[in-house]
Amino acid sequence: MASAGRRARASVRGYRKRAVSASGLDRVGTAWQGLPERVRSLAPVVIVIALAVTYPFYVESLPTNIPVILTFPPLHDAVTILVFVMMAVGLNIVVGYAGLLDLGYVAFYAIGAYTCGWLASGQFQQVHFHFGSVGIASNSGGIHISVWLVLLIAGIVTAVGGILIGLPTLRLRGDYLAIVTLGFGEIIPQFVRNADNLHGFDLTHGTFGISPIDPPGFGHTLNSAIGLPVRYDESFPPTPDRLFFWTVLGLLLLTVFCSMRLRDSRLGRAWIAIREDETAAGAMGIPLMRTKTWAYAGGAFFGGIAGAYIATFNSGAFPTQFDFNISVFLLCMVILGGMGSLWGVVVAGTILAWLNFDGLGNIGSWINTNVLPSSHQIDVPKYSFGIYGVIIVLMMMFRPTGLIPESRRKREIEEGTRGTLDEPLYDMRAGNEAGAGERGTSGRIPRG
């Protein structure tokens, strides 16, 4: 019996082997193994990027009755989702790399959005300044700077804002830093809400927000030369959304690239060292304040660009966009992805942002039609933050290092906890206030 079973299995294996070799798949496999390590590790990334770039072309033809999630996000929502992923990657520099708990990241988002509002709209009617703006009547008042330039300026302005916020706060450690950043995250939206009458000067247009904001575009010269659109919003749907989607995808890739390069640089090492042991990092020649401020500025830079981009995408910057919720939401993405893990944050950011803008609604209506009786319908999106909370708690219980743990944390798990839990021979983190105090060890001459 047993041997017959073995023979049968062996013959199935043999058959499979022959089938595979007949189809040439094994040759593909061999070729794949023969490729350089670099190519093999890059391939998934290239495939994902290719799928993303072509997304506008096939999103319309994707099925709309997928169980549970119903649809993939329509292009308009995909833009917002990617803006949030971009911010999560920026926040990951501060929280993940440098280990600085920032509960007020929304402040950077707001500064970026309002910088875009000031520099590319008719907000300041009393001045008349045009620079590289496209498709704007030349007699219209206000400041109209090319949106491309404004994105860069918004990043720089926000980075400077990050440094200014950082200078007084980064001397604090841990919980105290979190509380102060929380404060700044509340102050900035309150400020923009109320800064419509600064001694008669309307800076932010109060609760109405700044609207409309100029769209990006390529201008008449490029339009007549190679057919690029004058303004993103001048063509017919779905073209504007496609253009906005490709642009934000480009910005996100740029953010990921910069974040990766920074992580592997001298500065990135210094950030991780500070996260691991601040006192030791200082003693090894790392200027703590300056290095932490760079992390803040780096995170703020990308937050600012994201804010400016969402402002031009929505053609407006409104105070209600900048709730404390956003800071928490972004922090959830970083925690869910695995603090410091770039790819984890990208994946978790995409999932959470999708849940927020589309997913929960879709899942809710699927549950209502397929699971619940019509007399007991529920409004799933209403419980969004409760659901995120549950996700975070479950993650902390079952996978505390995140979806895709940062490699150094993953190594720790794979290698077990040897030498740290079972054998309290020594304690790498032990120490008193400055961490270099004395500690009794046996085998020494006792004091008389």
Partner: protein
């Protein structure tokens, strides 16, 4: 000061009238201490004598209540730790403080931070200058690891190294800061006798091959006797004796401080 000036030129480090009070507690009382160029000196004393407090003032973790520290001709009193490291004082910690989740190699590279220049833009753009600097730094770091007796553990996490190797890595990391003065805070604490002997041999080798001075803080008299040229003894924050190891071994006040009054009578 003018009279002391020529003498100071021979010394790598001069600490004058260093005093540290924690509230009402006087931890270090007007201590004068010098470290000559290219020497190994030790600071010993019973637990709580103020050795580590003094040490932390030299490296900028504590600000002295009073006193001046001159290192290599410049006043480093109360400068922040990173500036002191850059000036050329490297240190290890009594309770090992490596970056546990970084590899041995990365730990050493962090030590090189103040000697590298790679900026934020250069790193993002990956300019040839930054790439070359990183490559050279990595080569040098691997060399330092080998010099410190760490083989085949370059890519191991610091926390997974054995205790002796962690001590070695701490020294390698401190050496990566390119110090003129290396401060070792109880480097043999927790080591078994064989490891201690191996470590002291390593320190001797270090002194032969590198142009640096070493200050050894110890608590175990036996360790410093063989290794150092001059020994200073602290008790209750005051210097009670200073001299060659032989002199110190027979000093009555030292024996009293360590073993109690009864031992001397």
């Amino acid at each position: 000061m003018s009279e002391a000036a020529p003498e100071m030129n021979d010394d790598l480090l001069v600490a004058a009238q260093i005093r540290k009070e924690f509230g009402g507690l006087l931890a270090v009382n007007d201590l004068d201490f010098t470290i000559p160029q290219r020497s190994i000196v030790s600071l010993i004393g019973p637990n709580g004598a103020g050795k580590t407090t003094f040490f932390n003032m030299l490296t900028g973790l504590y600000k002295p209540t009073a006193g001046v520290v001159i290192f290599d001709g410049q006043d480093v009193t109360a400068k922040p730790p990173h500036a002191i490291t850059k000036a050329g004082i490297g240190r290890t910690f009594q309770n090992i403080r490596l970056f546990p989740q970084m590899t041995a190699l990365e730990n050493v590279l962090v030590g090189m931070h103040s000697r590298l220049k790679g900026g934020i833009l250069g790193s993002i753009l990956g300019t040839p200058r930054v790439r070359r600097e990183e490559r050279e730094a990595e080569e040098k770091a691997r060399e330092l690891l080998r010099f410190s007796g760490l083989r085949g553990v370059d890519d191991e996490l610091a926390e997974s190294l054995s205790y002796g190797d962690q001590r070695r890595l701490e020294v390698a990391r401190a050496l990566a800061t390119e110090p003129k003065l290396l401060l070792l805070d109880e480097p043999t604490a927790g080591m078994n006798p064989q490891e201690t002997v191996a470590f002291l041999n390593f320190v001797a080798k270090l002194r032969e091959e590198q142009p640096i001075s070493i200050l050894l803080i110890e608590h175990d008299m036996k360790v410093v006797m063989g290794a150092s040229e001059r020994v200073t003894v602290l008790d209750y924050g005051e210097k009670i004796a200073e001299g060659t190891p032989r002199e110190i071994q027979h000093d009555e006040r030292v024996i009293e401080a360590y073993l109690g009054k009864a031992a001397t009578s």
